[in-house]
């Protein structure tokens, strides 16, 4: 039996197993948010939130944070998580995986940006030709795909460096290893507040809604609804609001950044991007 056949067989067995088991795994569903702030800060934000949602919904969730922003996508592809907080799954091919948007975070729409420190000699995008620009990772839609697609469209030949996540990319800029950073406007703003450093934005994209709360198709509807209800009611419950406000403050978000329902229609412009994106960014 070839390895390919064995693999396919194993996959088939696994699919049958998933189809047969509608109940959650014994150790709970796995929730993987994109690592936006570095492992420590991301964990500091999500741990109390997930603990609250688990308690409130009665559906056990355990946090799984990847080392880079791409890890969440890897977990999805490897079918190792059931809930994610990501915007990496809107390409036509990944939409076929069957993940559904059920909510989002109440934050102003974000923009893909290319920025430098305020005292940088770089004054325009053209100055980046031949220089290195740091991005969080190849899977980062707002922070990498959007700004890099713009650089390509402007025929600016900048060299791409990945920092693993947004803070990693900013660390490269701070260390002087790259000339500019590509990022998500919300994360760049949070970084400026948190670190008291001033960035100068060279270019901003059209606005996009931030990451989406998504659930795998294999999760029973009642569990998705219970988890969604806990997320959406969080800011109305005094205890939930306190958890949310503390967690938001840790990553530089305002207290208004609560969770609300979404049917996925807010992410139509992601889908439009993939229709015209360069092949290397799809």
């Amino acid at each position: 039996m070839s390895i390919r056949f064995r693999a396919l067989l194993a996959g088939a067995v696994a699919s049958v197993a998933f189809a047969a088991v509608a109940a959650p795994p014994a150790d709970g569903y796995r929730f993987s948010p994109v690592n936006q702030y570095g492992i420590n800060l991301t964990a500091a934000y999500w741990n109390p939130v997930i603990a609250y949602v688990t308690e409130k919904s009665g559906v056990k969730l355990q946090l799984r944070i990847g080392r880079t922003s791409a890890d969440t996508t890897a977990y999805v592809l490897a079918q190792e998580v059931e809930f994610v907080f990501t915007n990496h799954l809107f390409s036509p091919e990944r939409e076929q995986l069957g993940w559904k948007v059920f909510g989002r975070r109440q934050t102003p729409p974000v923009k893909g940006q290319i920025a430098v420190f305020d005292d940088s000699p770089v004054r325009s995008l053209a100055d980046l030709a031949g220089k290195e620009v740091a991005f969080p990772g190849p899977e980062a839609f707002i922070a990498y795909k959007i700004p890099y697609a713009h650089l390509l469209s402007q025929k600016i030949d900048a060299r791409v460096v990945f920092g693993g996540n947004q803070d990693g990319a900013l660390a490269q800029l701070l260390a002087g290893k790259v000339a500019a950073v590509g990022g998500n406007s919300q994360l760049l703003e949070g970084y400026q507040k948190r670190e008291n450093k001033k960035l100068r934005v060279l270019w901003s994209s059209d606005p996009f809604y931030d990451l989406a709360l998504m659930a795998a198709s294999k999760v029973p509807d009642k569990d998705v609804k219970a988890v969604a209800a806990a997320f959406f009611g969080m800011h109305k419950d005094p205890k939930g609001r306190e958890v949310l406000e503390k967690a938001s403050a840790a990553v530089g978000l305002t207290a208004d950044a609560y969770f609300l329902a979404s049917d996925g229609s807010e992410y139509a412009n992601y889908r439009r991007f993939y229709q015209s994106a360069p092949a290397s960014l799809r």
Binding site: R4, A7, A12, A70, D71, L77, R282
Partner: protein, 1035 residues
Amino acid sequence: MKRLLALLPKSLVVRVFALYTVTLLVFGGLGLGTFVAYYVRSDIEDKNITGAMIVEVVAQTTTDSAIIGDYDTIEKTLQRAISRSPFHQAAFIDMIGGKVQVAAPQSSPASAPDFIENWVKSELGDVNRTISVGGRDYGVLRLIFDTDHIAATYWQFARIAFGAGAAAVLGGLFLIWIPVRRWLGNLDRLKAFEADLQAGTLDPKKYLSADAPVEIRRTFELLGRTASSLQSEREQASVTLAAIADAVLALDAAGLVTYANPAAAGLLGLTVEELAGCDVRALLPGAFDPGAPLAPWRSQRLRLASGDTGEHYLDTTLSAIAGTGGGAGGWVLAARDVTEAWRLEERLRTELAARQDALESLRGLLEGLLPAAGHAMRVGSGDIGVVSALVAELVREREEGRRALDNQKFALDQHAIVSVTDREGRIVYANDRFCETTGYRREDLIGSRHSRVSSGIHPPEMYAQLWRTIIEGRVWQGEICNRTADGRLKWFNSTIVPLPGPDGEPEQFIGISTDVTDLKETEAALQRAKDAAESANRAKSDFLANMSHEIRTPMNGIIGMSNLVLDSRLEAEQREYVGIVKSSAEALLVIINDILDFSKIEAGKLVVESLPFDVRRAVDDAMRSLALPAREKGLRLRAEVDAGVPAEVVGDSGRYRQVLMNLVGNAIKFTQEGEVQVRVSTRSGEGEAMVLETSVRDTGIGIGADKLAHIFDAFTQEDTSITRRYGGTGLGLTISRRLVELMDGRIRVESEVGKGSDFAFTVAVRTRAAAMPGEADARVLAGRRVLIVDDAQSHRETLQRLIEGWGMKVEVADSANTALARLLGEAPFDALLLDAELHEMTGAQFALALDQPAYANVRLPIVLLESGAGAGIPPRGVTRVVRTPLAPSDLMDALAFALRRPRSREILSMHVLLVEDNIINERVATAMLEKRGCRVSVAHDGEEALAACESRTFDAVLMDMQMPVMDGLEATRRLREREAALRHARTPVLAMTANAMEEDREACLAAGMDDFLAKPIRPDELFARLERLARPAAA
């Protein structure tokens, strides 16, 4: 901290060694730990970078294999990737969950503690890489670090590093111990130092070893120099103490003498040897508290009495020598003999005290004499020079005061009659003028009671009050009559002042009087003259009133009968003649009224009222009265009251209307064509005060500039030809000016010949706090029924919503004919709101249509809505005109005004008692009343009137004042008394009399009448008053 101190070794050598050991361990340990941590973190970072690079390399190969499904190649690639790498597992997971996984054999050198393994796992997570091409995902490549092996490597490295460090520390400590012990051992030899110092054989170098450190060597040399210096100073002190004259005793802690200098021995009468060991408390008894411990003092004077040396005074100081443990280790007592100085001080002190006593006595005396604060301050200064100057100043002031007093007394005696009495009323002083005026000799007066000169004409209460006033210490002033020695009465204007004694109570009373006998006689003569003049004035007023009454009675007959004749069927010529009679009589009446008003103003008898009145109504009344003459001359008469003018103000409405009518009447009189325009506005004053400003502008003949200055003077018209041409007394403007001034206002005129005149006057009024604009109107409107007649549907609906909002019941008619039909229906209306421009007929024609016999029973107040500006003169049958575009407040005001007016049919149905003795007046009044449909009963005097009122109830009583048997005032008073006693409703009583004076009016109101009407009676005035009296019933 205490525990740490307890652990501190006693020996300096051990301490230095321990310090070195701890320092070496801490810094060596920290340095080593930092090195290990840095190494581990760098290695972790390297491994992460390596992992990222390896996964990218592997991904390249894996991607190609994944696309074509070559999983064998993928497995081999993964095998190669983890060989000799930090990973021990690698896997490829495809999109359907299939997994290709390889693992390296475990080769851990040694197991690391759990916390290290966990930390490494947290730092080295799985490396994931999605395998995607052109947007399509093929799977996930995952490399897993061999964290157990990596942790064991770190643990082994740490153990080797810390072991080497510990060995290095131990070797170093051993090498340090030997020299430290030798070098610091020099300090132990200091034990022999003290013995050599006492023996005087001190040589610091002999305590030092040859290799002693330079710091210890310098310390020993310094100690040697200090010891020699101390020895020398001790010798010097011993010689000094033996030489000085002050006594010095050195004491031990218990107070026993350990040293005494020769001066101390001499002072205390003992030898130095005898003093040694003595207790200082026994040597200086009285200087110390028995049993109390010694305490230091400074500059204490002691008295020392000794049988051998006599009495001595000593200035002493006891100083403590600091001992170990905070207490005194010994004492030094120094004493100086100051016996001679003490005796000298005693003498000086005694002398100073005597002088101070003398000065205090003098100061006390001066303070008593000079109570003023400034002086007191100077007296208290204690400077003998200042005190002397004050004494001189005091003497001078007293002398000046005495002279001034003499001068004043002399002057007073020249002018006034002065006497002084004691508390018993006995005269103790009388000046020459007192003796001259009373006719008594001074020796007869002194000692006699003051009542000796009393006239006896004042009541005893006056003297009691006088005595009570002055005995309470207050001044009495007044006029008093005394009797002279020869029995004549004399009047004095007197002031009696109580003079307080030392206890503050009045002791004597000084009376200062001037003889006012002549003045009193003059006053009496003047009073008699005044009484005579007032009597004459009353006679004049009575004459004036009587004349007024006498003129008005026939005038009433002339005008009244003229009105009746004019209302009858006459030929044109007859109508013209009678009309002339009537207008002549009215002109004569105007002249009489002017003269009476002018006379009252000149006599100061005209009083303005202060009662609430409706400004718009006052203006409206005036305009209505003058609308006819204006219309006859073809003049436009317009009046405009600003919206800011309150609904009600407090002032004299009658006088305001009189001035306004005079000015408007003049304007009509002197204008041949064009218009007369009235405008009323207000200016706010302080609080409720407000100024009502009214202007009357015409397009008449105008007044020349040379005449303007005199136009308000009495008996002046522009020129005499004017009087002849236009008539009038020329008093109208004078009266207007006086009336305006009485109402705290001003009147002015601007004019140009041929262009017209602009008269303006102001009157002071007050706003009426209780009357909120619209509030009273709203009460009148609530629940009343109104018919809106307008052929424009939108107007009807707007009006209906507006008026229903005021609580009125509204019905609408879309045409004049519909409205006329509705008015004949059963539902009665209270008012009619009529558009001026209806299709079938105008509003004015509609109002005239209601005069037809078919509508005889329909008597409605009509409010006409007319486009344009200014206050329109209502056409016949119309109560008020409201201009459009409509201001809701104007409409509310107009409806309220209309509804307040009683309906004609209410007057028609009134039963009136006419009380009149004059047959002509009776006929005139009866005809007027009956012509308007009133039922009239007649009484010819007050008694008949009372009898009539007893037998039945009347809607109103018209009461003459002067009648035989019982006059109108008395009849009214009795009527009111009876109503009160029987709790009957109050019958309105209207005085109708030829007595036109103000006091007549006041007398009528005081008697209980409700209103006052001067004869000759004009029908419009009579019915206006009746309407007003009927208002409560109508409302």
